[in-house]
């Protein structure tokens, strides 16, 4: 398979060989010309074939090399053209001078030398045209559309088609082909109008491009001059100006070069406008990308201040940022703090707030008095609908310094800044939220650790627990404390409200439970003391409901007190009855004085083996399905226990929770839910 590089080498080799053969043929013809006075070259068809082969191979080689060229800018292409091909013209010029000197002064006239020189020129010309042709193609097709691409492809095809004329030895000047060639020339003119790339050069590059284009055009002229100079030389065996292809290619290369030169030259004065516009665009882009680049607000203000000063060519200015109620000057240019103060006072006096343009400060008596070196002032607020971030002041030392166009651009800048700053703050806010979430997660873990996972397993009772918080942290809790070998205290509670506040109170309650129960007291006494402790730290609107049970399995009984907590559900195995203990008791933190002790009752109960006690929070009985007012309710809970009291504690719990979740449907937890199932067992073994 032929790779691209191999193809190029092959083409170059073909070109060199055909060039050498052409030269040989030419010399041969010249020789015979002298002897036989023939006006036709020998073997005209072979000459033409070699000529076409040479031209085609050089053009194809250039096509390959130029298409492989990856230049980042247009100047690169021009440099490449100049260094690799146009310089040939200057080499040719040097050779010509040497030739003329040698023939004139040393008086050597050799047809061989003449042909050698002429043919070398020809070779250099073809290389120049090939290079130029394809370099121009790259530039011409910049920002191409489909139409342009097709137009070019046809042009290339037609141009190579004219080689047929040479191949078949037609005279292109004959009247049949002349109109066709003229049409092709018009086609070239049309193609030469595609000069979009020039617009993308800035002032500097345009000047350099002008120099290069000038050098290239000069090359064109040198080549043309040579060939018309030599045309008159009768000693020559052939005349390459008869090759229509070369003429057309020269026409194209020259015209396009000339067009580019003229367009560059005349767009030179306006290029600074385009430069400013493209810089504005870049700055907009920088502003909008500053979030991704993790820039700070300060950097955004830096960008906007620099950009607006440049965009408006302001001679002075400053940027004020709103820090709370204060205004802080963050950027200053060619102005003193004192001057700023004076202008500010004046603006305040005139009640000019924001969005103000004054293009003739001297006509304003106040400003005239200040004797400032500026004539124009524009004030632009950087603000969104809700928030003002800052105010930008720009000054110019000429009248009417800020025209509509400039102000529009400046406003676009300030608007973009507002957007960027707002987005930056949003990003920061969401990061902060993310941190809060993380901390809530930690709180959640901490709280989970506050709730015991395992109860002491004993032979005389089974206990199974269930707890879900509606949010990350909840207000429900339960705990236990082994008071003595045969006695255990179990507490359940619910703090009013949800979330962090509830979670803190819940932790407090746990502390109170462990603190007080170390002293082993009766449940009612515990409630009284807990109420007293909580009265000092609970918020005004907060309260806690709780139930405390002390189970004594040696005595086969328990005592409990209910402080506003949900009634305890009980199944008595002996009587085969399911009921709620109806006891009085006021929640904790409702009455915050000594009278609380009148509101708490204690109850003793002797249990039988297989009795079941269900302790829960209101999240269970008040659970509702989505968009429904019906609560799960005590009745339904009692019914469930009636159905499954014979099961193990764990299975009773699952039965109730399953029923509850069927009732509410998935994902409808509005309140924390806690459920404890205790089943007393027949078999007692004292440790």
């Amino acid at each position: 398979m032929l790779t691209k590089i191999n193809t190029t080498y092959l083409l170059i080799t073909t070109a060199v060989i055909s060039w050498a053969l052409l030269l040989a043929n030419l010399l041969l013809t010249a020789e015979s010309l002298q002897q036989q006075e023939l006006s036709e070259p020998m073997l005209p068809y072979i000459h033409n074939i070699l000529l076409v082969i040479f031209i085609v191979s050089v053009f194809l080689a250039q096509r390959n090399s130029v298409l492989n060229l990856r230049k980042t800018d247009f100047l690169g292409y021009l440099w490449h053209f100049f260094l690799k091909a146009a310089i040939g013209a200057y080499i040719a010029l040097a050779i010509y001078i040497a030739y003329v000197l040698s023939t004139d002064f040393i008086q050597i006239t050799s047809p061989v030398l003449l042909h050698l020189v002429y043919h070398t020129f020809f070779g250099l010309l073809v290389v120049f045209l090939g290079k130029g042709f394809y370099i121009w193609r790259q530039l011409l097709l910049y920002h191409k559309n489909k139409f342009l691409q097709i137009a070019w492809d046809w042009f290339e095809l037609l141009l190579f088609g004219t080689l047929l004329l040479t191949l078949l030895n037609f005279d292109y000047t004959s009247y049949i082909f002349l109109p066709l060639l003229a049409l092709l020339a018009f086609y070239i003119l049309f193609l030469c109008t595609n000069l979009k790339w020039v617009a993308y050069l800035n002032f500097n590059k345009k000047s350099r491009a002008l120099v290069l284009l000038g050098a290239i055009l000069l090359s064109c002229y040198i080549f043309l001059w040579f060939f018309y100079e030599f045309k008159s030389n009768t000693q020559l065996a052939t005349d390459y100006t008869h090759v229509g292809f070369l003429l057309l290619a020269m026409l194209f290369v020259g015209l396009y070069g000339l067009a580019a030169f003229l367009v560059s030259l005349f767009s030179l004065p306006t290029s600074s406008v385009f430069e400013q516009k493209s810089e504005d665009l870049l700055n907009f882009q920088r502003l909008s990308q500053s979030i991704q680049q993790g820039q700070s607000e300060q950097q955004v203000y830096d960008t906007v201040f620099d950009s607006t000063v440049k965009a408006s060519a302001a001679s002075a200015g400053w940027l004020e940022l709103d820090k709370g109620t204060e205004k802080q000057i963050s950027h200053m240019l060619n102005i003193t703090k004192e001057q700023i103060e004076r202008i500010r006072h004046l603006l305040l006096a005139f009640k000019y707030d924001t969005d103000h343009i004054n293009n003739n400060l001297d006509r304003n008596p106040g400003f005239k008095e200040l004797e400032l070196p500026w004539q124009s002032l524009v004030i632009l607020p950087i603000k969104s609908l809700k928030h003002q971030f800052g105010v930008l002041y720009l000054l110019k030392d000429i009248e009417n310094g800020f025209d509509r166009e400039t102000v529009n651009v400046l406003q676009t800048f300030t608007n973009q800044t507002t957007l960027t700053i707002e987005n930056l703050r949003l990003v920061a806010e969401s990061l902060q939220n993310e941190r809060y979430k993380e901390e809530l997660k930690i709180a959640s873990t901490v709280q989970e650790n506050l709730i015991p996972k395992t109860f002491p397993s004993d032979s005389w009772f089974e206990i199974s627990t269930h707890a879900i918080a509606a949010k990350e942290v909840g207000g429900d809790f339960y705990d236990f404390l082994q008071l003595s070998e045969s006695r255990i205290a179990i507490i359940i509670g619910d703090v009013s409200g949800k979330g962090i506040t509830a979670a803190f109170h819940m932790a407090q309650m746990k502390g109170i439970f462990h603190g007080l129960m170390q002293q082993d007291m009766a449940p009612s006494e515990f409630m009284r003391q807990a109420n007293s402790a909580l009265s000092r730290c609970l918020e005004r609107t907060s309260f806690i409901t709780s139930s405390l049970y002390i189970i004594d399995y040696r005595m086969k009984g328990f005592v409990f007190a209910r402080a506003g907590h949900c009634h305890t559900l009980y199944y008595n195995a002996m009587m085969q009855d399911t009921f709620y203990f109806q006891t009085d008791g006021l929640g904790l933190g409702i009455i915050r004085d000594q009278s609380y002790k009148n509101h708490i009752r204690e109850m003793f109960y002797d249990y039988n083996p297989s009795d079941v006690m269900v302790i829960y929070t209101d999240g269970i009985v008040e659970a509702r399905a989505e968009n429904s007012n019906e609560e799960y309710g005590e009745e339904r809970l009692r019914y469930m226990l009636e159905q499954c009291y014979h099961l193990e504690a764990e299975d009773i719990k699952f039965a109730i929770i399953n029923d509850l979740q069927t009732f509410t449907g998935p994902n409808t937890i509005y309140d924390d839910q806690t459920l404890l199932v205790i089943k007393f067992k027949a078999d007692q073994q004292t440790v």
């Binding site: 009013s496 609107t541 309260f543 409901t545 009634h567 006021l586 929640g587 409702i590 509101h599």
Partner: protein
Amino acid sequence: MKITNEIKDSTIIITLDGELDASSSVILDEELSNPEIMKFSKILVNCENLHYISSAGLGVFISHLQRFEDAQIKLIFFNMQDKVRNVFEILGLDLLMTIVSNYEEAMTIADE
């Protein structure tokens, strides 16, 4: 939640309509914290259309309970639905607050 007031002489009747949850209890708290309310000798709360009361809602009443008692203002609930009454009872509030079945009864108690 809709809270409406009706003033009859030295009595203010507050009607609660809907669910008294965490957000609506803030409005109720504002209503009860209003210094104007201390001018009345009786506060009647009509709970006919109160479907649900959360612990936050209860907390609002609890927090004002002592203040009203000190100012000798009677706080009386009437027309309370069983479901809501049950919540008051479980918490033990029925012994602290006056809950009666209807408006007439509430007015009689209030006039005592």
